[in-house]
């Protein structure tokens, strides 16, 4: 049986991530946990997260999960979601600067209070709602998901990976930003697949079937 550990560090709606995975047709056992052993023995890992980066990283460290996350991010199929994606980078400008896990090189930046669209109309921050996700690479997690499918976003910060090859998708809001990253066994998304109806459920299903190799 496919065992999926959803890492619980007290931040975010883990319930909906678990329900979305359970809803998938792939037989699997979902465990919401911060237990080190359980995480290390799971087949797949999901790192979710909402809220402020300082609080998220604070809880990850307090529960001594940082090393465990770094370890499982080495080899298991790993999915980061929203702040769980941002936490993989080196650092975030949120809360006057927060050091993150440093699993992928790059930084997390603020959309800013002066964001405007191509017609110079002011854009609201947080970026909240359904936006188009343009796939930049072929990947097992994009299987059967149409190019430019809309996913649900809620965030004020976005990732800026140093290595362009890590960009798996981009989205436009004031400017183009990286909305998904992929590197070896890691895939991470800024949007919420568990709130993105059909396309989101498909992405979780693809994740459950993924062998963790970057090649399609």
């Amino acid at each position: 049986m496919n065992t999926i550990a959803i890492i619980d560090y007290g931040m975010g709606n883990l319930h909906s991530v678990a329900k979305a995975i359970e809803h998938s047709s792939v037989a699997s056992k979902v465990i919401v946990t911060h237990d080190r052993k359980t995480i290390l023995s799971a087949d797949r890992i999901v790192l979710p997260g909402v809220g402020a980066m300082r609080d998220c990283m604070g809880e990850i460290k307090r529960l001594e999960l940082d090393d465990v996350i770094r370890e499982v991010a080495q080899n298991k199929p790993f999915l980061g979601v929203c702040v769980g994606m941002q936490a993989l980078l080196d650092s975030s400008t949120e809360n006057e600067g927060v050091e993150c896990l440093g699993i992928l090189p790059g930084h997390v930046e603020f959309f800013g209070n002066q964001l405007v669209d191509e017609n110079n109309e002011r854009l609201k921050v947080p970026h909240m709602g359904w936006n188009k996700v343009t796939q930049k690479i072929e990947h097992a997690l994009w299987k059967d998901i149409p190019q430019d499918a809309r996913f649900y976003f809620v965030h004020s910060y976005y990732v800026s990976p140093s290595d362009d090859n890590h960009e798996a998708a981009s989205t436009s809001y004031g400017h183009t930003f990286t909305s998904a990253v992929a590197h070896e066994n890691i895939f991470a998304v800024q949007f919420h697949p568990e709130k993105s109806q059909h396309a989101g459920l498909k992405l979780y299903e693809n994740f459950l079937r993924w062998d963790g190799h970057a090649d399609v």
């Binding site: 709606n13 319930h15 909906s16 329900k19 979305a20 809803h23 909402v50 809220g51 402020a52 209070n113 669209d117 854009l123 609201k124 921050v125 947080p126 970026h127 909240m128 709602g129 359904w130 936006n131 188009k132 809309r150 649900y152 976003f153 809620v154 965030h155 989205t171 436009s172 809001y173 919420h192 568990e194 709130k195 993105s196 109806q197 059909h198 989101g200 459920l201």
Partner: protein, 258 residues
């Protein structure tokens, strides 16, 4: 072009049942919120809002079960409002599967509650609901004040200043209902919505007064809102969500249409 404007059907729930009448033809039980939520999801709703109008606090637990069941089968954002007064109320709703809570009366009686809630759970899940009514004399400049208890209780608080303050306190979104228009089917108060939306950095949801699909278009174009909320036009199956989205798209508004 990018971010789509949202259509949010609102379900008023009393003792675990949808009220205000729902007349879907092919639905098992039109009063069952889970059935109604599934139907709206299939029609392409971008989010769902549940407003718990249960009078007795003893029966509040029923909304928790509704949220739990809906969250297990409908994978779009869910907002729950009504009776959210304590940090513990928010925690229970989020644990049940809600993504956001709407705070109304409790924000007015204790603005610090909004601050605490945003710090605890993040601004992204804190919606402040503002019920506003025009208070200026006909020959005076437009002015709105906020009302609580379903529009019955005046507070003397200026609605625009209140909106700015609530965002400053951590509200991640504002749900603005015109008490003048609610139930009239004469359209949103677009001046109210525009004045608030242009004054704050966060998304604003227009509510109160939708009678036809042009009103939804006006909510975005005239009211500068990021999302439009409606109840009765969808409940009575006058229009499907799909028709509403297509109508808005035909008027040049970016929508999520599969």
């Amino acid at each position: 072009m990018g971010l789509a404007k949202r259509i949010i059907p609102c379900l008023d729930v009393d003792n675990g049942r949808v009220v205000k009448g729902v007349k879907f033809v092919d639905i098992r039980d039109a009063g069952n919120p889970v059935d109604v939520a599934r139907r709206y999801d299939e029609e392409g709703a971008d989010e769902l809002t549940f407003l718990d109008i249960t009078a007795s606090s003893d029966n509040r637990a029923t909304i928790i079960h509704v949220v739990e069941e809906v969250a297990g089968s409908v994978f779009i954002p869910l907002t729950v409002g009504g009776g959210i007064r304590k940090v513990e109320d928010i925690r229970r709703m989020l644990n049940a599967g809600a993504d956001k809570v709407a705070i109304n009366t409790a924000a007015v009686s204790n603005p610090e509650f909004v601050k605490q809630a945003a710090e605890k759970f993040g601004s992204q899940c804190i919606v402040v609901a503002i019920d506003a009514k025009r208070v200026n004399a006909p020959d005076e400049p437009l002015r709105w004040e906020i009302f609580t208890h379903g529009g019955r209780k005046e507070t003397g608080i200026d609605a625009i200043q209140w909106a700015i303050k609530m965002v400053d306190y951590g509200a991640g979104e504002l749900l603005v209902t015109s008490m003048d228009r609610d139930g009239t089917k004469s359209g949103f108060d677009n001046e109210l919505n525009r004045t608030i939306s242009d004054s704050v950095s966060v998304p604003v949801i227009a509510s109160g007064g939708v009678g036809n699909l042009d009103h939804l278009v006006d909510g975005v174009k005239e009211g500068h809102c990021d999302a439009v909320l409606a109840a009765s036009i969808f409940h009575f199956a006058e229009y499907s969500i799909g028709e509403a989205k297509q109508h808005m798209a035909d008027h040049g508004i970016e929508m999520r249409i599969d």
